[in-house]
Amino acid sequence: MKAMLAAFVAIVVIAFGANFILENAGFSTEDRASGADVRLNN
């Protein structure tokens, strides 16, 4: 039972970790598709 709970906790930890990494990995559409001469936020 402990192994099962540990696995479920690991799923949550991995999910938040993956989200953090992906947010900062430079693969957003903005990062991939636009350049310095494109103003998206202002």
Partner: protein, 402 residues
């Protein structure tokens, strides 16, 4: 076997859909009356769902070498008329430059979207649902006919360690993530059809955003768990002679008595390899969808299949190996969903037999310890191995070191 057949059928159905678009009418049509443009018969044939060879349009994109002189009426167009320019955009042969850096920036027209949507909302959803409901019904029917598979002999009260903590961790990492991915995947696929009419746009919007977040991020746990279970169990899942006997006796499911099996019986090995092969396929297409247009799998695959003559072997014309970036993603999504449906059906059966379907089976993944009598009945060769090892260890520890 039944599920394998379904898998093959589904695989072929994807190919036939992909191919239906490429099947080309062989008879050349006289288009002199329209000056080479499409005729009423072309339009009618398309409306009847027949495939019309589009090369008379896709190749009619002008000839700059025969451009009229600058002073001429058509001179400024450089030998290409407006309809010819639009055709080259439509068929992806125009030389387009764009300040948008993504690979889709230069694709102004692609016609795969409707085909994808029609297949996704039609056969994919329909047969996917039939497959899951069908599997569920068969399991329910099996339960009604066969009931719970009980431990035949008298329980000993002794237990054997079947799965260590790390093995159970790997299993539940895979199981937990797969359940989350399955549920959120189904929510995404059936959201518009089922959830919006049932709960309204507001609730579905929240649900869809949450589903996307969970699906995208939990996927990594699934991939990691797939690697873990492969590394831990691959040696135990290599086929051997005991599997033939086990399969011939149908695993003893319908008859009394159990065929001998090692740590994993042939049925479990089939589950293992299904999870590994289908799970890997789902993971690869999933990653290509997570990083849109970065990893293109299908044009290269279709090219290989064409070069091996696979479509010909099925009496089909070659697959279209020249795909727009969007079409790559469309095929990735369809394949991802089809293989997921097949794996979900297999896992439904696995969950059944590991829980309500068999007495004593859940303990293996719950506490890790199984009743010795259960082990003797379902994995007799494994019990012999474990007990021989225990005896060897105890005799070694009893012998004083020299």
């Amino acid at each position: 076997m039944f599920r394998v057949l379904i898998a093959i059928l589904l695989t072929l159905s994807l190919f036939s859909v992909a191919n239906a678009q490429d099947a080309v009418e062989q008879v050349p049509r006289d288009r002199t009356k329209t000056g080479g443009a499409q005729t009423l018969e072309d339009i009618m044939a398309r409306q009847r769902g027949e495939k019309v060879d589009n090369s008379f349009r896709s190749n009619a994109t002008g000839d700059p070498n025969s451009a009229a002189g600058m002073a001429n009426q058509l001179g400024t167009l450089g030998g290409t008329s407006d309809p010819e320019l639009w055709r080259s955009l439509r068929f992806g042969s125009a030389n387009v430059t764009s300040t948008y850096k993504g690979p889709t920036g230069t694709v102004l027209v692609q016609d795969g979207g409707m085909r994808w949507l029609t297949f996704r909302d039609g056969p994919l959803s329909k047969y996917g649902l039939y497959l899951l409901l069908g599997t569920f019904s068969l399991l329910a029917l099996f339960y009604l006919i066969r009931g719970k598979i009980r431990i035949d002999g008298e329980k000993t009260g002794r237990t054997l360690v079947r799965f260590k903590a790390i093995e159970r961790f790997g299993h539940w990492l895979l199981a937990g993530s797969f359940l989350l991915l399955g549920i959120t995947g189904l929510l995404t696929l059936f959201g518009r059809k089922v959830l919006i009419p049932a709960f309204g746009h507001e609730i579905f919007s929240t649900l869809a955003v949450a589903s996307k977040w969970v699906h995208n991020n939990v996927s990594w746990a699934f991939i990691a768990a797939l690697v873990i279970i492969f590394a831990m169990w691959v040696l135990h899942n290599l086929p051997d002679r005991t599997d033939i006997n086990w399969l011939l006796k149908g695993g003893g499911i319908f008859a009394k008595g159990h065929p001998p099996a090692k740590k994993f019986n042939a049925g479990q090995k089939l589950i293992f390899w299904s999870v590994i092969v289908l799970g890997t396929s789902i993971s690869i297409t999933g990653i290509s969808l997570l990083f849109p247009f970065e990893i293109n799998l299908f044009a290269a695959t279709f090219e290989k299949l064409n070069s091996f003559g696979i479509p010909e072997a099925f009496g089909l014309s070659d697959f279209n190996a020249s795909l727009a970036p969007q079409e790559e993603m469309q095929y990735a999504q369809l394949w991802h969903a089809i293989v997921s449906f097949v794996l979900m059906a297999i896992i439904l059966a696995h969950i059944y037999i590991g829980s309500v379907g068999m007495e004593g089976a859940y303990d293996a993944m719950g506490t890790g310890d199984v009743e010795e009598q259960w082990a003797r009945e379902h994995h007799s060769l494994w019990v012999e191995e474990v007990q021989a090892k225990q005896e060897r260890l105890s005799s070694e520890s009893a012998t004083p070191a020299e």
